[in-house]
């Protein structure tokens, strides 16, 4: 057991734990806090993968901005305990076994088909981290048009949020 592997299992376990807490929590605010746990542990995994800029953006945009928005709306609407639904017979006897089977099958196929990327990785050689400089070069040269398109998307999102928030008279 080397250190990256221990770190991976720690953070991966935290992420899965947070996702399970999101499902079992009755209060929306508890779900939001467990989702923040998932996002922070995913940011550590990004650091482990050498994507420093993405880790920083994950913390700032997701755990910072988006989740603050969620928590703000939960407090604004005073969201209380949610009602549980009763499981339908269909979900209990057909949906659940099929879902577990699908998950196991996907896991098996991913385990079996790792020869390609592993060989490309140089089998144990630790590659250097992605530099933010190279990422900026790719973003502003090769992907300049999508980058500009996202600015229009954000503008439309701002307008949409304003129109929805405007009090109708």
């Amino acid at each position: 057991m080397n250190l990256p592997l221990i770190l991976f299992f720690f953070c991966g376990g935290l992420a899965v734990l947070g996702a399970i807490l999101l499902i079992v929590a009755r209060e929306p605010i508890h779900s939001a806090l467990s989702l923040i746990l998932v996002m922070v542990s995913l940011a550590i995994l990004y650091l482990l993968l050498g994507a420093e800029f993405i880790a920083a953006v994950q913390i700032i945009v997701y755990a910072g901005a988006v989740m603050v928005l969620f928590v703000f709306v939960i407090m604004l609407l005073n969201a209380g305990v949610e009602q549980r639904t009763n499981w339908s017979k269909m979900a209990k006897y057909a949906g659940m076994p099929l879902g577990i089977f699908l998950l196991l099958e996907i896991t098996r196929w991913i385990w079996r088909s790792t020869a390609g990327p592993q060989a490309a990785n140089g089998a144990g050689a630790v590659p250097a981290a992605f530099s933010t400089h190279d990422l900026a070069m790719a973003l502003f040269r090769q992907y300049l048009f999508p980058f500009e398109a996202t600015s229009i998307l954000i503008l439309i999102a701002i307008l949409g949020a304003l129109v929805l928030a405007k009090r109708s008279e």
Binding site: G12, M39, F53, Y62, E82
Partner: protein, 100 residues
């Protein structure tokens, strides 16, 4: 060095948990959180593949996914506020105007 397949399995498990939360939760805000969880799981797979092939394009895609998720959260939560003002409820089963 952690094998890439570990990351992909973790990504798949997180996506599956997101789908389960999306289906079983009844609160609109929590359903939104489940969507964010699924987007995060896909981002992890993108970064893992970027690492596996040592290509930057995966990271650029993650960047765009984060931008779109932020825009979606802003508009979606505005819709949630309007729904709760009109229906006085956050339960999705009370929003059944289009239900057959």
């Amino acid at each position: 060095m952690v094998p890439i397949s570990y990351y992909l399995v973790l990504s798949g498990v997180l996506f599956g948990l997101g789908v389960i939360a999306f289906i079983f939760k009844r609160n609109i805000i929590t359903i939104f959180m489940a969507i964010e969880l699924m987007l995060n799981a896909v981002n992890l797979a993108f970064v893992a593949f970027a690492r596996a092939w040592n290509q930057l394009d995966g990271l650029v895609f993650v960047f765009f996914v984060i931008v779109v998720a932020a825009a979606e959260a802003a508009v979606g939560l505005a819709i949630v506020i309007v729904i709760s003002q009109n229906r006085r409820s956050l339960n999705v089963e009370d929003v059944n105007l289009l239900k057959f």
